[in-house]
Symmetry: C4
Subunit: 201 residues, 4 copies
Amino acid sequence: MDSKRAEAFSDGVFAIAITLLVLDLAVPARDRLAGRSLIRALGAEWPSYFAYLVSFAVIGIIWVNHHGLCGLVKRADRLVLFANLFLLLTVSVIPFPTRLLAEYLTASGDSHVAAAIYSAGMLAMSIAFSLLFLAISRDARLLHVPLDRATIQRTWRRFSVGGVFYLITIGLSFVSAVLTLVVHALLAAYYCFDQLASARS
Amino acid sequence: MDSKRAEAFSDGVFAIAITLLVLDLAVPARDRLAGRSLIRALGAEWPSYFAYLVSFAVIGIIWVNHHGLCGLVKRADRLVLFANLFLLLTVSVIPFPTRLLAEYLTASGDSHVAAAIYSAGMLAMSIAFSLLFLAISRDARLLHVPLDRATIQRTWRRFSVGGVFYLITIGLSFVSAVLTLVVHALLAAYYCFDQLASARS
Amino acid sequence: MDSKRAEAFSDGVFAIAITLLVLDLAVPARDRLAGRSLIRALGAEWPSYFAYLVSFAVIGIIWVNHHGLCGLVKRADRLVLFANLFLLLTVSVIPFPTRLLAEYLTASGDSHVAAAIYSAGMLAMSIAFSLLFLAISRDARLLHVPLDRATIQRTWRRFSVGGVFYLITIGLSFVSAVLTLVVHALLAAYYCFDQLASARS
Amino acid sequence: MDSKRAEAFSDGVFAIAITLLVLDLAVPARDRLAGRSLIRALGAEWPSYFAYLVSFAVIGIIWVNHHGLCGLVKRADRLVLFANLFLLLTVSVIPFPTRLLAEYLTASGDSHVAAAIYSAGMLAMSIAFSLLFLAISRDARLLHVPLDRATIQRTWRRFSVGGVFYLITIGLSFVSAVLTLVVHALLAAYYCFDQLASARS
């Protein structure tokens, strides 16, 4: 089975999930400003913009990684397709925890739960990505060029470190929701620069 | 007429339908929690998550099957295009019965109607898929390799069994809506593992 | 300039417009049933389902025609790209008049205005499609095979008849909105069967 | 890394952003007409239609330019992918300032803030497009045919002029929001005709 169509379908899901995020940037209704200026009303929505930017960056980075992973694949069997579907499930659900965290980021008690759910969503995505790599790397006939054992081990180590970081953000959620979102932003920036550096070398 | 663009269009519709499902995972507004904790308010939305997961799995499986079916096709004539459009109609409408069932799953009387409409949507999709297979298999010139009679018969038998199952879920809806959704989840899991098994052999 | 990417972009817009229609199939909220059964509440929404089906069919047919038209094109220059963008504007706006007509189909006075706007939307789409054909057929170097004068004239005659029909539906809107939507459904069915017949010959 | 998939993903984001704009063309609810006729209620929504058309045109033109730019690229490295992601961020966010400007275009004081945010969004998009060009033109190995110094300088001059115009619209926002939107429409029309002229020569 050719992997081209699975990529096109995945690109569609990534593109839609990343673009649907904008629907949750709410415009305050004119008759609900209640005497506030628009600029203040928009300012009060900063958790929406922050969560939007972090989720946009995370989906974008996952897409770049998915792009890189698919470049290795010659043929996708059904196990790969279903592993890919599971990844797409975790990606396409992201607008939900994003909306949730934007709504509750500044709520005192409930902010922790919202941040923990957001972090769990990121962890699920990272696990799904690892499973897709597992499905692809298990059979050399699916690949253009077989991966050597050292590359596979190095990749797994990276995935494990990423997974541990996301686990830590779940714990961190119960300390501070805002800090948790900052850490997710930093993780995204790290992955972004790390890839630019590895691309340069 | 080349079948590549019909696939790209279909992939677009599948990708959008499967991703739009997330719009119906509602975030409870902060000022409507009415003293409940967020975790309880989210817990009360379990029918949404359950219906979301089942519909995501169903659309995903249909996509894998569509992918497989299109792999046989060399050329799509207009009858195939319209049969495909009918399938896309049944796929792209799925967010509606999903939303309906999520809203009414725990309503005493109306849950049966909602579950029956959901099941009827699944039946329509299964019929549309059979019609697409019929449109494709009717003319050997549309295919890369002509299908032998035994394969066509075996495929029809599978489609018939699937159709009968979906008919049964319509009846089951009037017994229990929750049970009906469980059966749809089991059917999706069955199709998923069945395909993985047939892919392995 | 290669026409492949313009097709991919167009397919995306068609796929999204046709799938976004489902967002306007409203699920009645449980606490607003006001003693009615769900089945009655859904039944009262028949204008939504009717408008949904007609608009789905219209976008689907336009896509099939667009698919056919693009099959002739070898190279798209910027005039073709902008003519195509104008067609995409008229296609991607369709969810709006569809929603409008669904809401006002059974309103006594305002139904006429809603139906006239819906019909004007269809007319705009038909004009945009003619302009795209004009942009493509004006320069033989854009085509795989140059079109002979007779084919161009026959195509224009078809477009003119279609345009006149849509003009008539605008007038008809002020007689009966429901009848207007029925005529749009019949026009869609006619185009559909006409294409199947011409494909067979 | 092949640039085909980055184009497909970009096309998806462009197509979705341009089509999502329609969701903000609101249909006035029947029970909120408050004695007004539908035609008057729709007429009062003219800022929505105006902002919709301008944003549609802007995204469409950016897509045509993106299409042109990608035609030069043979290989996309990660820096190009991330520059492209940044452009997609500025494109996919456009429905938000569009909605904002539509809501506040006729509000006395707040219209200026809304128009300035809309103009800033356009400026961000123009900067992101320049950065993408920078990322592409920095390394001749990424291109099918290396760009000569004169072409690069001419392109930069164009980008700078465009950027200055968008800066001016931010200032203009504090004079008149409606005038600002008119200028954005004129800029879009200018770019459109300019491209048609340069395509003809």
